[in-house]
Symmetry: C3
Subunit: 344 residues, 3 copies
């Protein structure tokens, strides 16, 4: 194993060492708070300067601009974050090696088509008509339903469930516990019997290339047609995507957000965490909805909305600030009422 | 395969073709936005008229009332939605065929009782004392715990986990990733040791006939007694049902809603998406709680509540509208203060 | 089987029977609402007195203070809740017995190290380098990734997924469907290509002794370093813990709450249900955040915060009360405007 020192790592990222201890051996990386002697860290945000000052790290990557303010051992670089990424790679544990091949306990339909270099792990189940592209990894305990297809280099982590007729592109990553293609939530109410009658969901889910889907996220199949997740979309954990939702390419959906049926998002939309969208909405390209907001109206391209019954963020922040001043406003109203009474 | 045309489909639903192209061959169905030539769609909501006008569908089902306004090829019927349902069935892919029988990789306790015509799929695990009704489907990778019973014609999609002693009725559908019967979240705080001591949850879960439970939804078992989901209740994805909750028959619980311990819902209650209910509440029959609301009080039958610390929806909407007018109200207050000052 | 009577149970908890029917046979326990003749219940909260009055239970445990107010058959004790816990244990069904041993369908890497008395159930998968402490239970369909370690007496319920290099302590309980160690949600945006580039998450998850994690909860691995859940922390169902979050010992996280990346919680923090925390925050010891609140600022030790952009609960409740009075305040403002107009 290569021995790294503060100086050798500085050289690796084209930096300059300031302070004592350039020859200290470095055995790992860590954040400012957790770092121990022998570890290296980085400062990318002024907010964390007190943590940098108190850090036990053997050296901290800092920017040229920040370097003069400090006395601790530091490696001065243009971009501490980028340099740290480069150094991280030196210390990263070797990634899990997924042996190509089909584990003997996997259950694979006779007519399934498996590409070259694929790894299918223990207890995975591939139903009739499944097609798996080259170099895919299907983790342990995954289920892939009838006629579903995976493009090349796609990875399902263990315990992913994909229902029938899903169409999944290349280089897609789906994390453990995600469910793709469950039935949409739709019923007709039968007033005669007082019962909710299930609406058949005969559509499917299409996930385009380079999508990533988080752990325990759910994506329902279309009632007819498809639920469609565009290329490059990134979806966090525990997100709900209802039937017939369309998510435009390169959109970002943060954890615990829910999108109701038939709502359509443009390209590069950002939904922060715990957002809720009503059904049948159209959200324009590059719109951003802040955390915990609720939306029940269409959103124009580029808008930044916030709040329950979300409004443009400036308006929301102003209203919120005034709401917090209500106690003072009520006092002012009372004072005024008394003055006017004295005038009458 | 039968060849369908606009005219033959119109005849199938007792409609009348207006506009050109009655002999066009139809090969599928789709929504207005996605439909291509060769596909048929429907217009059931005035909101979508522009989409209908721009649709590439070979024909669109419209109502008698709407038909005269349009010039595109249309099939005129009384209920476009119902007619579309009938036509959809002609084009639906054949449903997945679940072969009756027990897959050789399933692990089934010797004393489990399995009804006639049941399909138990690959890697399913049935523990001691399980009883499975006739014609049930237990999907791949499902786990069914000790002494749990399933009524006739119930279906567990792949990767469902049901803990011990659950009592599940007939014609129940449970979607992938759902967890039934996990321990409730309850601890006694031991002030002496500063530790939370787990409260045993020795109760169970009872799910009555015709219930549907969404993907990755969790239903905790009772502390004692049971968590009880009444007949015909429909629960969406990623919903949390805590210990000892009672949900009355035919209630609807939309995605990402959470119901805290021992809360009791009447019949035909509707909880929209991302609603949160505190524990030990009583919600009356046919009450409706709108999306993202929070409830910490009992709700009378028939009430429609909305908002954080939810209030009757009329009140909530009025308060919300006035809140948005706060900037203007504050300006008015300032103007008044100046006038009064000039009068003193 | 022992026959229990109201009198024998009263003796078991050192109580006194008041009212008729001390010799009635008791065959079970239940809550006040559901209890039938032959069952025993308890009253610990004045709110439930009407339920106690109407209960069909053969006897109800009540406190010395409450006992004189009632005429129903009651067992008088100091703490009805504690006494009920003792009686519950007499009627609890025998717990599921997890046979020590490795089920023949489990797939275990040759170099995995398995402690004494461990139960590894059907279709569980243990990858290379896994170490399992003594008396652990690994449920059916669980996956444990490379190099992950479990301390003694830890239990994974069926269908838990733990990714590589997780470090899990002793006496930890993880409920079904939980996912531990999924990748954090982080991307660098490449403006040249317009694509989100995945940031490697080479860290891991550390879960200390006596932690409990709910069903379908997700805990992401660190970008580098670790996501760390301290000793005695209790996490409910469907909670999201992002990369590099630190949760101090004995904190309580209720269902459907989400904590964003690198946020750090002190000891004995309580986050109620559906709370959302932004990233990079510091929450002080013993702070409490009420249900559905949103936090985007640091919180001092001991604070009790509430609301969207959460504020101290007193302030929040006052603002909320005044918000509800807005219709009246606007009327007062209007009246004042008219009076002032008449004065000018």
């Amino acid at each position: 194993m290569t021995v790294h020192t503060v100086r050798s790592l500085s050289a690796h990222v084209g930096g300059t060492v300031l302070g004592e201890g350039a020859e200290s051996v470095v055995t790992g990386i860590n954040d400012l708070r957790s770092a121990q002697p022998g570890e290296i860290s980085f400062l990318a945000n002024a907010k964390y300067e007190p943590l940098a000052q108190a850090s036990r790290a053997s050296a901290i990557l800092v920017s040229t601009k920040d370097a003069p303010r400090f006395s601790f051992t530091r490696i001065v670089v243009e971009s501490p974050s980028a340099a740290f990424g480069k150094i991280s790679a030196l210390f990263a544990p070797p990634p899990v090696r997924d042996e190509p091949g089909i584990h003997p306990t996997a259950v694979i339909a006779p007519d399934a088509v498996i590409g070259e270099g694929v790894s299918i792990q223990a207890h995975a189940v591939l139903a009739a008509g499944v097609r798996i592209g080259a170099r895919c990894v299907v983790g342990a305990n995954c289920f892939i339903g009838e006629q579903t297809t995976l493009g090349d280099d796609t990875r399902l982590y263990p315990s992913v469930t994909v229902r029938e007729r899903s169409v999944i592109g290349a280089r897609v990553i789906i994390h453990s516990g995600a469910v793709i293609g469950s039935d949409g939530f739709g019923y007709d109410f039968d007033a005669k019997t007082g019962r909710h009658v299930k609406i058949a969901h005969t559509g499917n889910v299409q996930i385009d290339d380079d999508v990533e889907i988080g752990a325990n996220t759910t994506v329902d199949r279309g009632r007819f047609g498809k639920t469609h997740i565009g290329a490059g979309v990134k979806i966090d954990n525990l997100v709900q995507i209802a039937h017939n939702v369309i998510i435009g390419p390169h959109s970002i959906i943060v954890s615990q957000t829910g999108i109701s049926g038939s709502t359509s998002l443009g390209r590069y939309v950002t939904l922060a965490g715990q957002v809720g969208l009503a059904g049948h909405l159209t959200i324009g390209d590059r719109a951003t909805i802040t955390a915990q907001s609720g939306l029940n109206k269409d959103v124009p391209a580029g808008a930044v909305l916030s709040g329950y019954h979300a409004a443009p963020i400036r308006e929301s922040l102003k209203v919120e600030a005034l709401t917090r001043r209500l106690p003072e406003l009520v006092e002012r109203l009372k004072a005024l009422e008394e003055k006017v009474r004295s005038l009458l």
